[in-house]
């Protein structure tokens, strides 16, 4: 089934390198570009930090889908975020080894240091953002360094045996 629509896409600045990368990913799906929806969304989330409504519409237009069919996918996977994370996004491992090594305490102290309120978080909205929008945090599953817990990531940086939350945040000030 091909789906196309007459809709206009709101302003969304896609750098040409990103678009090239996306176009390349689409070529991996020669039978129907519809199937490229996941890789395209990953690329967009990597770049923008989340999938905005504009990104949904852009993806739909790119892949000849209706926006609602893209939104369906975005909301199905908790891995896709629908709102912006902080400038620094922290992922704290909560799987067994790290949990035993104190990752839940680490989560608490990070939240305190970064002034993040996690009370509204749930399975489908796993991320909490600080008031100033600088930091955001979520639990992640095993980050593959189980012997050095508690483990966390800040954006793409890996941190092991994290003990001092404030010191960690100190590295990500501006």
């Amino acid at each position: 089934m091909i789906l196309k629509a007459n809709f206009s896409v709101m302003a969304l600045e896609i750098p040409s390198t990103l678009e090239q990368e996306i176009d390349e990913r689409i070529t991996h799906y020669p039978v129907s570009k519809r199937s490229a929806v996941l890789p395209v969304l990953h690329a967009l989330q990597h770049h923008f930090g989340y999938i905005s409504e504009e990104a949904v519409e852009w993806t739909a237009k790119k892949l000849d889908l209706l926006p609602i069919k893209v939104l369906e996918v975005v909301t199905f996977y908790p891995g896709f975020r629908q709102y912006a994370p902080g400038k620094y996004h922290i992922r704290v491992c909560r799987t067994l080894s790290c949990a035993m090594a104190g990752s839940f305490d680490l989560m608490d102290s990070l939240c305190q240091a970064a002034k993040i309120d996690r009370s509204g978080v749930n399975h489908h909205h796993p991320i909490a953002v600080s008031e100033d929008g600088k930091y955001s945090i979520e639990f992640a599953e095993c980050l593959a360094s189980c012997g050095t817990g508690p483990v966390c990531m800040v954006n793409d940086d890996f941190h092991e045996k994290v003990e001092d939350a404030a010191a960690l945040l100190g590295q990500y000030r501006d």
Partner: protein, 925 residues
């Protein structure tokens, strides 16, 4: 149980039953044991199997006592010799537990629920034997708020059981894809559009989702699923030529709601918003309820007797003084076959003239004329179901998703499935993104484009020589015509790149079966009938006639425009299309009616107006026709109305035209009458009164019978059976039709003895013997030749899904709140040049007058072309339209008007037409 020799069988609870190809386990059990034996929740007969709820679980085994496995029966294909166990303890427990879990998140307020007694969840819960819910109260969604944003659609998702039936109905039935499941697991919920409300979404309020929803989670303001109604009547929609079947729910002579019958051949559980929801006009306070006679310039309410006497006297006088030809009648394609038949009989046999015409004149008369010339019959060659068998759909001058929504939705579904689509239209209509080709020609150049189209088929050697030799004539002439074409000239005229035309033409010609649909964008042109014949050429030269999935298929506008012409509401042909001026047929008619009838061809509608203005026509009888608002060049029509000595109007509302009448007779709407309508695929279907006529009103047929008797003609009393029997005696292609025999789904004419219908025409041989080719060169419309320099834009017109013609009915329903005005579509380039922005008021000037409309800047139209609809007569669009007509049939050229546009500066005190929308309060809820 059936005999089992050499048949493939499977076993239900130990007994063998015969399989059918394509059976799922559920279909098989439903057929042999009955629907409902296996409970279901996410399955619906009008939808593809889905397999979400597992309530339909059964056990299966390869042998009677082999190991068993549980499967969902609705989406598991049946295999030979399978043993199915529908009632084992295991599946019963499983089903009960599933429903119990569903109920943990459902408000158990059944007693006050809108669908109490007609809720599938309720029924299934009862069936599987739920007595209590064992699970403790947990998190739930009972606090979801209702969406009451839309004039028709409602939702209360606290009642949603996430079965996805609504989503699938929107995708599979309507193809609008408004609904979706957002999130997953506990958070899964139905959304509209990108999580907005019904009103904000692209929902076209077809109601398919509401009908498919097993609970009241999605419903409508009429609460159509409630079981409050005590009666239900199957009838046919009055709004377009698709002819959807409707199930009208009534209680105590009031219509409560309308649903679409599941399994109806025309519209299996599907309608558009007009058929399903726009019925509240029928008992609107504005309905006329008393005959009115104008005495001394003022209308007075009188009794029916007085009105009839007055009419009989005045018509009698005029007939004696000026002869019968000073009287004319215009019938209505909204009325039944029986009423149209009576109307022409009244004019022909009682008055004694052939001055009878109907609104087909202004829409599809060129189709009837052209197809008669080419094939011998002026009707669709194939049926809509043929969409299943076609490889290529050619759509010319039609916007089916707006004008013929249910057929439009089916076309869209096929295009989405990959069938090649070719759209020939000056506008980028909704189907364009789904079609492979869009030939966006300049309005009025169909002939140039189709000639080029035919040329490329011929040039590529894709002509079906065998078909032509065996079944057609005049090919050589046509071929010579093609040879003489100047392609550069044609390309300049129609403005579409020739390579594009060629690619489309080759796709059409190469398709195994190619099907054509056309609408008023073909007919309402000076070369309208000629265009129809060119379309017929295309079908013949590629052998696309007389087989499934092909043919020439006009999308007829009004619900019974086919029938009105079939019944003889035309000045040159009587009931059954026999020429009135042929001595032999003339005699047949005289004998049949038992009265002398005229053998001279009468006036067509535009000629009637002209004759009135010239004083030759003295009296006019209009049945359900608002000519002042709907015919082009309104001023000239009004002049004609004023010039008449005597005007009788049968109407349901006080229309603009009725204001000019001497007698107004209050008629009944389609919900209050019985008879038959013939849809665009020649399907004669039963219209059955769902309610009694409003007090004081009468069905049009009854009125005609009474006046005929009053004027001395012994016409038997009106019954649908009796009338159909009379028609069957004179109209050859109704020969075998009987009221009972038409059944639920009607029959497609020609109807042979024994109610045998015909789905595909011209199989093996054309009705006229040989199919005839015609060649016509392009000729520019006189309107453009005369006024094109001074008025450089082309105004073309069309319709919207939400409204019907001048909106007399639809605007008295909730539809009036969905679309509230006509707007003018202007291309961005033109808009920039003229300093026009979205929402600006624009003056549209033609050689005849001017109107002011709000601009909508859109690239849906090409530069140089502007487009508007005509549903809001207060904008008086017909003040500017031209009265140029089709050369052959006098069908007006609504599609082309030379205009100029300019921005209206909002000077204080300047009168800008605003729409007279009936405020929401008057809609009876």
């Amino acid at each position: 149980m059936v005999s089992l020799t050499a048949k493939t069988v499977a076993y239900i609870d130990g007994s063998a039953y015969e399989m059918e190809p394509g059976d799922t386990i559920l279909k098989f059990v439903d057929r042999h044991v009955g629907r409902g034996h296996v409970p279901t929740l996410c399955d619906a007969p009008q939808l593809e199997p889905y397999g979400a709820c597992r309530v339909c679980s059964v056990e299966i085994a390869l042998t009677a006592d082999g190991p068993r496995r549980v499967v969902a029966s609705c989406h598991t294909p049946l295999t030979e010799n399978l043993h199915i166990f529908t009632e084992s303890k295991n599946v019963r427990d499983l089903r009960r537990n599933i429903v119990e879990l569903v109920l943990t998140d459902h408000p158990l307020d059944c007693l006050t629920c809108e669908v109490n007694g007609n809720c599938e969840l309720q029924t299934v819960a009862a069936k599987v034997g739920i007595r209590k819910v064992r699970y403790p109260e947990g998190k739930n969604h009972l606090d979801r708020t209702k969406d009451l944003s839309h004039p028709y659609m409602t939702s209360d998702l606290s009642k949603c059981i996430n079965c996805s039936r609504c989503v699938r109905a929107c995708d599979e039935v309507q193809g609008q894809m408004v609904l979706s499941m957002h999130g997953r697991g506990f958070n899964a919920r139905i959304i509209k559009g990108l999580d907005t409300s019904f009103a904000e979404s692209d929902c076209v309020s077809c109601g398919a989702c509401a009908q498919a929803c097993p609970t009241s989670a999605i419903s409508d303001v009429h609460q159509s699923k409630a079981i409050e109604a005590t009666d239900s009547t199957r009838t046919v929609c009055t709004y377009c030529g698709v002819g959807c079947n409707l199930e009208v729910k009534t209680k105590g002579n009031e219509v409560l709601g309308i649903t679409a019958p599941v399994g109806a051949e025309v519209n299996n559980a599907h309608t558009c918003l007009k058929g399903r929801y726009a019925f509240k006009f029928y008992n609107h306070p504005d309905r006329l309820r008393k005959p009115l006679v104008r005495y001394n310039g003022h209308f007075e309410e009188v009794s029916w007797d007085e009105a009839y006497d007055y009419i009989a006297k005045r018509l009698g006088e005029i007939k004696t003084q000026h002869g019968p030809d000073a009287i004319a009648g215009i019938s209505s394609a909204r009325c039944t076959n029986e009423e149209n038949y009576l109307m022409q009989k009244f004019i022909r046999a009682v008055i004694g003239t052939n001055n009878i015409d109907c609104c087909a004149r202004v829409c599809h008369s060129p189709t009837a004329f052209g197809m008669q010339k080419s094939f011998g019959t002026g009707a669709a060659t194939n049926s809509v179901v043929d969409l299943q068998y076609t490889d290529c759909i050619l759509i010319i001058g039609a916007n089916p998703t707006e004008g013929h929504p249910v057929t439009g939705a089916k076309i869209k579904q096929r295009l989405m499935k990959g069938v090649t689509g070719i759209v020939i239209d000056p506008r980028r209509i909704e189907l364009v993104p789904y079609a492979k080709h869009h030939l966006q020609l300049r309005p009025g150049t169909n002939v140039a484009l189709l000639n080029m189209f035919a040329y490329y088929i011929w040039e590529a050697g894709l002509v079906d020589r065998e078909f032509i030799e065996k079944r057609c004539e005049n090919w050589a002439d046509f071929e010579n015509g093609l040879r003489s074409l100047d392609l550069d000239e044609l390309e300049r005229i129609h403005g579409v790149d020739r390579e594009q035309v060629k690619a489309a033409a080759l796709d059409y010609a190469r398709a195994e079966a190619a099907m054509e649909f056309h609408g008023l964008g073909v007919t309402e042109h000076s070369q309208g009938a000629k265009t129809v014949m060119l379309i017929a050429n295309l079908a013949m030269m590629t052998g696309n006639i007389g087989r499934p999935g092909c043919g020439v298929n006009p999308l007829r506008g009004q619900n019974n425009v086919q029938g009105a012409a079939d019944m003889g509401c035309q000045p040159h042909q009587g009931a059954g299309y026999m020429p009135v001026d042929d001595p032999q047929w003339h005699e047949t008619y005289e004998k049949f009616y038992g009265m002398p009838v005229s053998d001279e061809i009468g006036y067509k509608i535009p000629q009637m107006f002209e004759a009135a203005r010239e004083g030759k026509l003295k009296a006019l009888w209009l049945m359900g026709e608002d000519v002042v608002q709907t015919d082009p060049n309104s001023e000239a029509v009004k002049e004609a109305m004023n010039a008449l000595d005597f005007l009788v109007v049968q109407e349901i509302f006080m229309t603009e035209t009725a204001q000019y009448a001497d007698v107004v007779l209050p008629a009944a709407s389609f919900l209050e009458k019985s008879g038959t309508f013939t849809n665009a695929e020649r399907r004669v279907q039963r219209v059955q009164a769902a309610v009694e006529p409003l007090p004081g009103t009468k069905p049009d047929g009854q009125i005609l019978v009474e006046i005929m008797n009053r004027m001395g003609y012994p016409q038997p009393d009106y019954t649908p059976e009796g009338m159909l029997a009379e028609i069957a005696q004179i109209v050859p292609f109704f020969k075998g039709a009987t009221w009972d025999g038409l059944g639920d789904n009607g029959k497609q004419w020609p109807i042979q003895e024994g109610n045998v219908g015909t789905a595909i025409m011209h199989v093996g041989q054309f009705k006229r013997g040989l199919g005839k080719f015609h060649f016509f060169p392009f000729r520019e419309s006189e309107e453009l030749v005369a006024h094109g320099k001074e008025f450089p834009f082309i105004l073309t017109t069309g319709r919207l899904l939400e409204h019907y013609n001048c909106g007399t009915m639809t605007r008295r329903t909730g539809n009036g709140r969905i679309v509230t005005k006509d707007v003018l579509a202007v291309n961005p380039a033109d808009a920039a040049r003229k300093g026009i922005e979205d929402g600006d008021h624009v003056r549209i000037v033609s050689a005849r007058g001017e109107v002011i409309l709000e601009a909508q800047v859109t690239d849906e139209v090409k530069p140089g072309v502007v487009f508007t609809t005509f549903h809001f007569p207060e904008h008086l669009v017909n003040n500017v339209t031209s009265d140029v007509h089709c050369d052959d049939t006098l069908c007006p050229e609504y599609k082309i008007t030379a205009v100029d546009i300019e921005k209206v500066l909002d000077e204080p005190g300047r009168q800008v037409h605003s729409s007279r929308i009936v405020p929401a309060e008057v809609f009876a809820k």
